[in-house]
């Protein structure tokens, strides 16, 4: 249930950032330029209260919406562990 809410929320965030993403297209390759990438990363930081580190600055490995979701999970886990 929690995961479903997260997914719905995440898809909404991606839509707000100009991505045409739905649950059935999470593995489709995303097309974005540097402007949309940066804008999206800042939206994700704000929405999930995380700081995205330098490793992700160039967008390497972030090809699909699922890649972005995995990044958020990983960073949230890391931050939770720190707390």
């Amino acid at each position: 249930m929690v995961k479903e809410t997260f997914l719905e929320d995440f898809i909404l965030t991606m839509n707000e950032c100009g991505f045409d993403v739905a649950e059935e297209s999470l593995d489709d390759e995303l097309q974005y330029d540097s402007l949309q990438f940066v804008s999206t990363m800042v939206s994700i930081e704000e929405k999930y209260g995380i700081t995205i580190p330098d490793d992700y600055m160039l967008g390497e490995g972030l090809d699909t919406a699922r890649d972005f979701i995995n990044m958020v999970y990983l960073l949230k886990e890391t931050e939770d562990e720190k707390q």
């Binding site: 839509n15 707000e16 950032c17 100009g18 991505f19 402007l35 949309q36 940066v38 804008s39 990363m41 800042v42 939206s43 930081e45 704000e46 700081t51 995205i52 580190p53 330098d54 600055m57």
Partner: protein, 448 residues
């Protein structure tokens, strides 16, 4: 047979090292090894050598192209210009929340007026954006005066715009030209969350020179205030997706203190890619104040001769010098040249140039419309066309390596005022920037 693309720059650094920059693709490589065949082929314009590793690298990086591609590459860039100038999915709005400033810079072209944007005008800007149904990408720039002298309106508009963009799935990014004296950490963090991510601030050399060139209006020092804010941001801002460009406006005075400035920048901003350095030489940008320092200005020719030295010395530090954003394709295209790019003055007037709007002799040509309360806006098409038309010789531009950067449309205000097109090529700034990037290791090196 393969041809060299017209849109490249080759700089020989050493006998076994060359730097190549593709201005159309906005990327470069450094080749190390036996470069003689490459240099010879570049002069001839065609690759007649063997099928070597060098050839493969040049081809895969877009330096060598097929003959039929070579014949149409200029037209491809001209098409890119038309699409960029008339793109209805993009909008760029420079907002002047106030024309007042807390600084009294000795070269400033603006006059001492106090006009603050009202909430009513702020609402009309938000409505204007909401009404633009074709909009997919929005770029907001904050300018002044000092925009943070009317901070609350900046926050108010950015909150409204963020709301509209979220609802409509519009990609939003914003920047700000600020003197940074009021850019304290809480302000910066709030702006970051509102997607104001790129900043241009100015530090004119060391404390001694900066405080002479950029004093507070009250007469006091501004240097320490700026440095304190930048240190706070550097040490405490959590977000990584911002860039602060530190600009230095050079006069002979700053030039004489170059070493002190370099030391400070190196001490404060080394190895931090969020901060980068660039410069401009002080020119007569208009207004009355400049008359007091005319004898201290460098001529364009003098400044250009110093340009390489400044860039070279800064490139020896670990402060990022020569940001790639300055030389990307289209980056030299003035926002005034784009149909959906406007400057909104404090009263809602729609202008095309932040310099020209303060030129009383030409303001009428610069103001091309006004936003109404409901967000509708009318543009005077007769005035607008002066800004959107390409008046350079297209055939000549298509032959120029820098065409993808400026798209043949440099400074439309200069064109309107002086009735001729000024070409930026003579400054050769692209070469200086790529050389600085190479020196700092920001360009991929390949052994051949």
């Amino acid at each position: 047979m393969l041809n060299w693309t017209k849109y490249h720059i080759l700089e020989k650094i050493k006998d076994d090292r060359i730097l190549l920059w593709n201005t159309f693709l906005g990327k470069g490589i450094t080749l190390v090894g036996n470069i003689a065949p490459i240099c010879e082929s570049e002069v001839s314009g065609v690759w007649s050598g063997e099928d070597s590793k060098a050839k493969q690298i040049l081809q895969s990086n877009g330096f060598l192209i097929e003959k039929d591609q070579y014949d149409v590459e200029g037209k491809l860039i001209s098409k890119m210009r038309s699409e960029t100038v008339y793109d209805d999915s993009f909008m760029s709005i420079t907002i002047i929340p106030t024309d007042t400033c807390n600084f009294n810079c000795i070269y400033c072209y603006q006059s001492d007026t106090i006009h603050n944007m009202s909430k009513e005008t702020a609402d009309s800007i938000i409505r204007m954006i909401a009404r633009k149904k074709t909009l997919r990408k929005l770029h907001i720039s904050w300018f002044g005066g000092e925009p943070l002298c009317n901070k609350e309106i900046v926050f108010y508009i950015m909150e409204g715009i963020n709301r509209v963009c979220k609802e409509r799935g519009i990609v939003l990014i914003a920047d700000m030209t600020t003197n940074a004296s009021l850019l304290d950490l809480p302000t910066f963090i709030r702006l970051y969350d509102l997607k104001v991510l790129n900043y241009q601030i100015t530090i004119d050399g060391c404390k001694k020179t900066h405080d002479v060139q950029r004093p507070l209006k009250s007469g006091g020092s501004s240097y320490d205030m700026i440095l304190k804010n930048l240190r706070d941001i550097r040490d405490n801002a959590k977000g990584r997706f911002f860039k602060i460009g530190i600009r230095t406006n050079f006069t002979d005075f700053v030039d004489n203190q170059f070493a002190a400035m370099k030391d400070t920048l190196e001490e404060e901003f080394s190895n931090d890619s969020r901060f980068y350095f660039f410069f401009q030489w002080v020119k007569n940008w208009g207004g009355n104040r400049i008359s007091g320092i005319m004898d201290r200005l460098l001529s364009d020719d003098e400044a250009i001769s110093h340009y390489g030295r400044w860039m070279d010395q800064m490139a020896q530090t670990s402060v990022r010098t020569g940001d790639i954003t300055l030389i990307r394709p289209c980056s030299g295209l003035c926002v005034g040249c784009r149909k959906n790019s406007f400057i909104v003055d404090t009263d809602g007037s729609i202008c095309k140039c932040t310099t020209g709007m303060y030129d009383k002799d030409y303001r009428d040509r610069v103001v091309i419309g006004k936003i109404e309360k409901n967000g509708l806006y009318k543009i005077d098409k007769w005035k607008e066309i002066d800004w959107l038309s390409m008046d350079a010789d297209q055939n000549e531009c298509e032959k120029c390596a820098q065409y993808p950067i400026c798209l043949g449309m440099p400074c439309p205000y200069y064109k309107i005022k002086h009735k001729r097109v000024i070409c930026n090529k003579k400054t050769d700034y692209v070469c200086k920037i790529i050389l600085a990037m190479e020196k700092q290791g920001h360009i991929q090196e390949i052994r051949i």
